[in-house]
Symmetry: C2
Subunit: 402 residues, 2 copies
């Protein structure tokens, strides 16, 4: 299939592009390199030494014999170029990763809040209007987040896949209605994904667009079978307080002898997925477009749930590390239970890669190999949800000698 | 109270500014004159001869002895100037009308779809972030729309004010949850108001902002006790297919001898409010800020509901006019019932101005007085919800001699 990958240079976008290319799909990446530019703003770099996108694509051609196209384009502002690209390429599927994707960054300060909304909402809406304007019949696969549902809202009921059946009282008795699960976003970033959902619902209903919204859990892991073929294809690994995801941060911390940073009690339960399963899920979604054009299909893209403190203890036990309990910069419940339905991906053939000692060790190895690239002043999360909230000091000012 | 009126030069904003000024409040209008500029784009003008905003404010000073401030500012793009203004003014209340507000215009073409989203979402979000950044403790009153609820969704139950109590099944039995009423927007314009709702919910929860969202019905009428004091204060009256609201269009059509344009069967039931009640409701909302800072207060700003065909028949009977049944440019149900709760405004003292012969006559008089300003080629609505939908021809190519 001809697939356009929006945001195809990022943490999920790059390994997805390689995986789809490896599976025989014809890939074009669209990216404005925003993620790399935010690294410059934050004065931090991926722990792994990622190469320029042109070099990445060249090496992939050497290694695989396959071409990947690249277009430098800002989805939020370059509408006319987007339309030209769609008309030239006529993609059979579009994978949309092109959004600012870090919750802490979205709460960092006013420019970051505004960038997250302006970029994410306009990018998604430009894409939807461009599909209407060009009339291209494609299947749009969007990366959403489990965070649209919030945590603990539905009591002991597992979180359904997008839609919830509720009973509504009327003068003539209760009626049943299937609704989009109520939105309970925990950050400006998550909020933008709840706005995306409403735009998808409208453009499916009004214009018959075929849309799949993937509510993904927290991604961990770094390498896939494609990115590992050459060091110059390596995927990015964020360890900093804004962009690092919790389990990868623990692995990095264990690798350098830094205490594992648990925010609050660690009683938060979250859903997880390994990057290798992310790329498989995307292919499943791309190659199984929804039949229904009246409303978006929603799939929960997760494989397991864990309490953050349990993850910290597991990493600490296996790899030897202390745990530090730090003030929580987020406004969220101290503790929550979480059960999530993911029946649709399982039915479509996903075989989950679950947490295991081997996988954790592999993560630690990546972190260990590039430990000298760590800036210890970037580890603590200092983006707080409201001004005045407590921020932790650095726990290490320089890396311990190994 | 010191009140900042965003979009204070528009159809609802201008009479609201004058009413609040007349009631002794200290008013500053912020407006980028977008609505006047869209008139230029559409090659149409208000039926009533509205004066430049500077003249309006000068005349109001002559007539009332009261000053109204004016700031020309684009809420969606001039963030830093907005912050400076807020810090200088420190308003005790902000009324937010500054959004593109016509459903047909929002469906007109791609630039209009994009403008509606880019302007409305960024404007609202800039305002919210600016309130957080400046820490100004103000009460924000936003003009939403009844269209966020959709029509016919809740069976025989009246539409509640913002929040709906539903029952959710769990393994431990049903639990009750109060949710924001599910969003069922009928156009890109209405969609932006559903996005606003989610942004308000987040910024109330996270930052404790005090927000009132007014879900307003279709406004009819033109003049208030303030705009009528001098012809140069006259309010705008839109009669064209994009911006004209249904009842005002019928009044204009009756006044010039044009058949009343009913789209589809006319079986659509909608909620209405007279412009005189709009301005009263705004003052009630401004002077009664919500106590709750954890979630927005939602009030339904409507006074009555009517079936469109019944309105057409009423106007036709009283004023003598034919009815023309035209293809419906909207994707909507042919017919719906509608009951709406508006208990909160009634409890806060609103005394509804309901449809009556006198009011209709007054509307017809306004239209009759300025009938020579009508461009008959602008009457038919030609913005369709999907390309390829049927568009009606002009019913009149020139005004009938009176």
């Amino acid at each position: 299939m001809r697939v356009l990958v929006l945001g195809g240079d990022g943490f999920c976008g790059w390994p997805t592009s390689l995986y789809l290319s490896d599976r025989g799909h014809d890939i074009t990446i669209l990216d404005n390199l925003s993620r790399r530019k935010i690294d410059i703003e934050l004065e931090v770099e991926s722990l792994t030494p990622i190469r320029p996108v042109g070099e990445r694509i060249r090496v992939w051609r050497e290694v695989s014999g396959r071409e990947i196209g690249f277009v430098s384009l800002d989805l939020a502002t370059e509408y006319d170029r987007l339309v030209s690209l769609l008309e030239d390429l006529r993609p059979e599927a579009i994978v949309h990763f092109a959004e600012q994707r870090a919750a802490p960054y979205s709460m960092r300060n006013t420019p970051a809040r505004r960038y997250t909304v302006d970029n994410n909402v306009r990018g998604t809406h430009n894409l939807l209007t461009a599909l209407v304007a060009t009339g291209i019949d494609t299947s749009l696969v969007h990366l959403g987040t489990m965070g649209v549902y919030g945590y603990g809202w539905s009591g002991s009921a597992p979180i359904p896949e997008g839609y919830l059946t509720v009973k509504v009282p009327t003068p003539d008795g209760e009626i049943e209605r299937e609704i989009l699960h109520p939105a309970n976003p925990g950050s400006v970033y998550h909020m933008t994904k709840t706005l995306d959902q409403l735009m998808f619902a409208f453009y499916a209903k009004n214009d018959g667009l075929r849309i799949t919204d993937l509510h993904q859990g927290i991604v961990w892991g770094t390498q896939t079978q494609q990115t590992i073929r050459d060091e110059r294809l390596i995927n990015r690994f964020d360890y900093d307080g804004d962009y690092g995801t919790v389990l990868n941060r623990f692995l990095m911390q264990a690798a350098i002898g830094h205490p594992l940073t648990v925010h609050g009690t660690g009683g938060q339960t979250r859903a997880f997925i390994h990057i290798r399963d992310t790329v498989r899920c995307i292919e499943i979604a791309v190659t199984n477009p929804p039949a229904d054009r009246t409303r978006p299909r929603v799939l929960n893209q997760i494989t397991e749930t864990h309490r953050v403190l349990d993850l910290a203890k597991m990493v600490a036990d296996i790899m030897g590390a202390d745990i530090a309990y730090l003030p929580n910069p987020r406004q969220e419940a101290d503790e929550n239970d979480l059960a999530v339905r993911n029946d649709q991906f399982l039915a479509l053939g996903l075989q989950p890669t679950t947490l295991s000692e081997g996988l954790l060790e592999e993560g630690k190895d990546v972190a260990g190999r590039y430990r000298d690239r760590v800036d210890p002043t970037k580890i603590i999360c200092r983006s707080v949800w409201r001004s005045g909230m407590e921020k932790a000091d650095d726990l290490l000012t320089e890396l311990p000698v190994q």
